[in-house]
Symmetry: C2
């Protein structure tokens, strides 16, 4: 694909996603079994279940999260111009989330909710194998709707980036459709992540339609690709994605990543990692690196390589936001 048109673009990427603060703690495998949590995936929970899980969780650390928000924070840290659209409440967790986007330079102006549910939080349970399993109380995020779509932030961004996680309520879907239309009308590219196997499972048919008709750049991992086509074999599933849209970037953990374009396959090996601490944010930061390269007109292999580097960096830290600037990875 050609470099996304940066003609009159004020932003490299504008993203829409869940505005979440992560509550991150180390647990053992028994904790997951006992609580019927599926390792590596994300479960939506109500406030009561969230409280019940939290009460059983050990000492936790709170850090800003949210898939697309993490990607934008990574993009900003790499040096890109970004904007985020999402919903927090006017509470303490909302202030933390807002601060952490503002401080890294992401434009975030969505009006916080004055009442209703509190800012979303995600219990991130990290097991000794560094895998993360998540239970999300969606809180204020569920209020995002068409009125939250800032037309200028979308039309003036080279790429619009949307997370599959957000595809849940009717008004969130309407908000996403509205944003995609604004982006299209302005001649921009639309990127989308499948987010999670269970998320794919809930919305399989709609996701396939979206990919075929509305999306230019798709992010997925192997498990999500398998879930999308209900296939057991990863290679088969990835092959099936081919040609569904212009660019398909698939992450494969320690096997690195692969990018499928019309007629081409570009592989990038995984970076060497000394000690994996916590895999939270690996996919999100892959998207940061990939989209950074893409908006600068890099070839697919280089985009994937920077994606792999950013993912490698974040899995050596606790949480999904890097405490050190990512700019130095660009070289």
């Amino acid at each position: 694909m050609n470099k996304p048109s940066t003609n009159t673009a004020r932003y490299d990427v504008t993203g829409i996603g869940n505005a979440i603060v992560d509550v991150l703690g180390f647990v053992d495998d028994e904790f997951l079994t006992k609580n019927n949590l599926n390792k590596g995936s994300m479960l939506l929970v109500d406030e009561a279940r969230a409280a019940q899980l939290y009460a059983q969780m050990g000492q936790a650390t709170e850090c800003s999260g949210g898939s697309v928000a993490n990607s934008l924070a990574g993009l900003a840290s790499l040096g890109a111009k970004t904007a985020f659209i999402g919903k927090v409440k006017n509470d303490q967790l909302g202030s933390i989330f807002t601060h952490d986007l503002h401080t890294v330079g992401v434009n975030f102006t969505s009006k916080p909710a004055a009442d209703g549910p509190s800012t979303a939080s995600c219990l991130v349970c990290v097991t000794p194998d560094a895998q993360r399993t998540m239970a999300t109380y969606i809180g204020a995020c569920s209020d995002v709707s068409e009125v939250d779509i800032d037309q200028q932030q979308v039309s003036q961004a080279a790429v619009l980036y949307i997370e599959g996680y957000l595809w849940d309520t009717e008004h969130a879907k309407a908000a996403i459709r509205r944003a995609m239309k604004v982006a299209r009308d302005a001649g921009r590219k639309v990127a989308f992540t499948l987010s999670d196997t269970f998320c794919v499972d809930r919305h399989r048919a709609e996701f396939i339609e979206l990919i075929k008709n509305d999306i230019d750049i798709l992010f997925a991992n192997e498990a999500e690709a398998k879930s999308l086509y209900q296939l057991q074999n990863g290679d088969e599933a990835v092959n099936k994605l081919r040609g569904m849209c212009e660019i398909i970037a698939v992450t494969r953990s320690e096997k690195g990543s692969v990018v499928l374009t019309e007629g081409d396959v570009h592989s990038a090996p995984a970076q060497t990692v000394h000690r994996v601490i916590d895999t939270t944010g690996a996919g999100d930061l892959y998207a940061s690196g990939f989209l950074f390269g893409l908006t600068r007109g890099w070839d697919m292999g280089s985009c994937a390589m920077l994606g792999n580097c950013c993912a490698a960096e974040i899995i050596q830290q606790v949480g999904a936001r890097s405490l050190r600037p990512l700019k130095e990875l660009v070289a």
Copy 2:
């Protein structure tokens, strides 16, 4: 000194302190200079100044803090029975603070404030040398008073532990005096930490009176000892502390720690540390290890050694609460 009487003691240690959530971020030295922050010390700030500093701070991580609360969490993680008395508000940061004490097994039943200032937060600025410099918005903590002293929690603990940081308002001082009287009347020991050089500077005369008349076990670092006697020389200041109370435990960073008792000096070398990440909580966790040994009747050298081990563990993590259990250090 003999082992503190555990006769009818339900708790090893009950502590009174500020109930604080730390907001921890990495900054450069220029950030400190620009904002007139004294490296290594703690500054009390009002809400406006806290907001202004926070706005300049990069990506942050939130973790429970508070000096005595950190020590109690460490003690509980080592296997001791502990209780905490302190004031949060009924808000999101208050819930985080409460969860993190409960989850490690600290009894914390102080009634949260329903209105008034929000739960305290401390901006912990970590510089590349791993030193931490703190700006604390004291919030709900300032409401602690005599009514918050649970007589049973104090009289039934082998040791009452108090932080110098709390010695600020008249009603907090009254609460501390009340707790010390309850402990004394029950034949318990009173431990106290000088907390910070500026804290010592504000209350020098009162602290000297407290140490002489009301305290059995004193925790200090070399800088605080120097501040107490307004001396330039660390050895001289530490010598001057000698005999002021029954046990004086002084931490000296990479020189380890020294314990002064009547007629004896016990030194314990610092533990080998592979990579210092963040010194937040070093002194607090030293107290955890020391008091754990003391309540089990260990000799002074062994108490100091476990203190050093706990301090070494925490400076290799981000924040002042260990994400891994400390029990294995006891062996």
